[in-house]
């Protein structure tokens, strides 16, 4: 009895102010959040601000810049290469996203069917997405080789064309080629995430629709698509975001060439800033990407709101 009382009493005097502070929810959670907050504030928030600031300066590599106001943006405004890169970025993003969405949804619908070895197929479908982009882009570089392209070889053998296709040398073909490589890499992400969405749709909805006389197209149009819309919004926002800011694929395949036909804003920003040394101008190009990204993020936000609403949750 005595001993028990002692045990019960003992912790009380030991509770110093520090220990009591540690029990305070706000203090403790601040402590838990400290490491990640430190990392993100120092290496994410601060650089974001610094980037905006650099866009207003004429900083070069090895020389701190001075504030020059909107001069960088004025230069860019009259720079037809910059406008070409904006055009390319939008074309690249729209074309690649539409294709990724259409093909990804198709693949997801196929994988949602009853199939033998389904898990296996699902696993290998995701491979292009797992492998480092730069390394698969190098494989595409070889596939797109002007002389020894395997695609040209096959098409010549089949008698469809006579001379090898100059995939990366011709502006239009180069654009199509990088878009194709991007779509190749992006399909798995779209397909697998949409597949996860498809699997949450109850089969009874399809059965009900069939009993009401809906054909397969009508079932797709009036059951699958509406149920999938929120997840499509989110997946496609991610996809658009990553395509819009793509750098690796272009850098490996064309470095922006031929005659800047495939320069994206990200690659142009890199080229002006790092090899070119004009950090200020490069930062200004990067900042010019932000409005587009914000638009995509807002779109995603409303997509998720709708999803939550659809799932019956409160706002």
């Amino acid at each position: 009895m005595n001993a028990a009382a002692e045990v019960a009493l003992k912790p009380a005097p030991r509770r110093s102010r520090g220990a009591r502070l540690l029990e305070n929810r706000n203090v403790l959670s601040a402590l838990f959040l400290l490491p990640s907050a430190a990392i993100l504030l120092v290496f994410l928030t601060y650089p974001l601000g610094l980037g905006v600031w650099l866009g207003f300066t004429d900083t070069r590599i090895g020389r701190p810049g001075i504030f020059i106001g909107l001069e960088n943006y004025e230069i860019l405004w009259h720079d037809h290469v910059f406008w070409l890169s904006v055009f390319n970025t939008i074309l690249y993003t729209v074309a690649a996203s539409v294709l990724k969405f259409a093909l990804g949804l198709w693949l997801a619908l196929i994988l949602n069917e009853k199939l033998p070895f389904k898990a296996f197929f699902r696993a290998i479908v995701l491979l292009p997405w797992v492998v480092p982009t730069v390394l698969s882009a190098i494989a595409f570089w070889w596939i797109y080789d002007a002389q020894f392209s395997i695609i040209s070889y096959s098409l010549i053998k089949l008698g469809i064309i006579d001379t090898p296709i100059n995939f990366l040398g011709d502006p239009t073909l180069a654009r199509a080629s990088v878009i194709a490589a991007n779509v190749w890499r992006g399909i798995p992400f779209v397909a697998i995430t949409l597949l996860a969405g498809l699997q949450t749709i109850s089969p009874s909805l399809y059965e009900a629709a069939t009993l009401d006389g809906a054909g397969s197209w009508q079932r797709f149009r009036h059951v699958t698509l509406p149920m999938l819309t929120p997840i499509i919004a989110v997946v496609m926002t991610f996809s658009v975001l990553f395509t819009f800011t793509d750098f690796q694929l272009i850098y490996v395949l064309t470095r922006g060439g031929p005659v800047n036909a495939t320069h994206l804003m990200a690659t142009l920003s890199f080229q002006r800033a790092i090899p070119g040394g004009h950090l200020g101008e490069g930062a200004a190009i990067a900042v010019a990407m932000i409005p587009f990204l914000l638009a995509a993020i807002l779109f995603s936000y409303f997509g998720m709101q709708r999803r939550r609403w659809q799932q019956g949750g409160r706002d």
């Binding site: 990640s36 993100l40 197929f121 730069v134 697998i192 996860a196 690796q248």
Partner: protein
């Protein structure tokens, strides 16, 4: 007549497939129709998605004289496989060093990110401090900030901090995209653990730290694996920071090294390049093959929440 046969067949097929649960009415479509609508497109998809890997592998073991001689050798096959390119890669280039660098940087960045994210996710999801929703939302927004708009200011910072051309430059900057992702993922996981378990432990006198280590973490091992392998893959695949912050050959990572050092002047060493690409992909592919389901769940988890 035909109606009678389909009606008779339908239940049989249904039993055979053991289904009715997925696909629902799959038994209604006939086999030839399925071949055209399902199997054929699937085969084309699989072929297109996997062909670059086949092409990569076959090029890596092709001797140079076969590589560009399409007249005498079919490019789709290899007649005299050789390990020449792989030997060159492993013994005559800095490739092993790049592999090692990538490994060190990736593991360090992953461990830091996962530890930091566990703490953050637990605080945001379970401690319900004032403003936890706002913090959660800003973590999500941080995930949406792409590296291609951060690399210029980060390069300036890395230079000022004296980290330029060192592994630390990458170990410290990779968490900028890993921490938001892992935190977001783990928040979803922690949310699925019942509150009652924590309340019991709290009544028994456990501290928050003990609850996290002894109750939450053991229960969220699948989540930790998902976050870990995903962070590993993301940092293994990272390119733009590694390209910008690293100068010397001995500090390069695999993607940067293969691209910048194996391409010499106008002569492309396609064999060595492909071998480099293949070996650089293998670690993530092996990891992936062991944890397919975790990958899928982390990928879908990231967009679902």
């Amino acid at each position: 007549m035909s109606d009678a046969t389909t009606a008779a067949q339908a239940p049989v097929r249904r039993n055979k497939g053991g289904a009715g649960d997925e696909g629902g009415m799959g038994y209604l479509s006939s086999l030839p129709r399925r071949v055209v609508t399902v199997y054929l497109p699937l085969a084309v998809f699989i072929f297109v998605l996997l062909f670059p890997f086949y092409w990569m592998s076959i090029t890596a073991i092709k001797p140079n004289h076969e590589l560009t001689d399409y007249k005498n050798f079919s490019p789709f096959w290899v007649v005299h496989p050789t390990l020449e390119h792989i030997k060159y890669l492993l013994f005559e280039s800095s490739y092993p060093q790049w592999l090692w660098n990538t490994m060190v940087i990736t593991i360090a960045a992953t461990v830091i990110s996962v530890v930091v994210s566990v703490l953050a996710a637990y605080a945001i999801e379970r401690m319900r401090f004032s403003g936890s929703r706002t913090v959660g939302l800003s973590i999500f927004l941080a995930y949406l900030v792409p590296p291609s708009i951060l690399f210029i200011p980060l390069a300036v910072m890395v230079f000022k901090l004296g980290l330029y051309d060192s592994k630390w430059a990458l170990i410290l900057t990779y968490p900028t995209f890993l921490v938001p992702f892992c935190t977001w993922l783990l928040m979803g996981y922690f949310r699925s653990i019942p509150y009652e378990l924590e309340e019991c432990a709290l009544m028994d006198g456990a501290s928050r730290w003990q609850i996290l280590v002894k109750i939450i973490l053991p229960l969220s091992i699948p989540g930790l694996i998902s976050a870990g392998i995903f962070a590993f893959t993301l940092s293994w695949n990272e390119f733009i920071y590694a390209l910008t912050f690293i100068q010397s050959s001995e500090n390069k990572t695999v993607p940067v090294g293969v691209l910048t050092e194996l391409v010499r002047s106008d002569i492309y060493e396609w064999g060595a390049l492909m071998a480099g690409a293949l070996f650089g992909s293998l670690p993530v592919v092996i990891l992936y093959s062991f944890f397919v389901d975790y990958y899928v769940s982390s990928m879908t988890g990231a967009v679902k929440e």
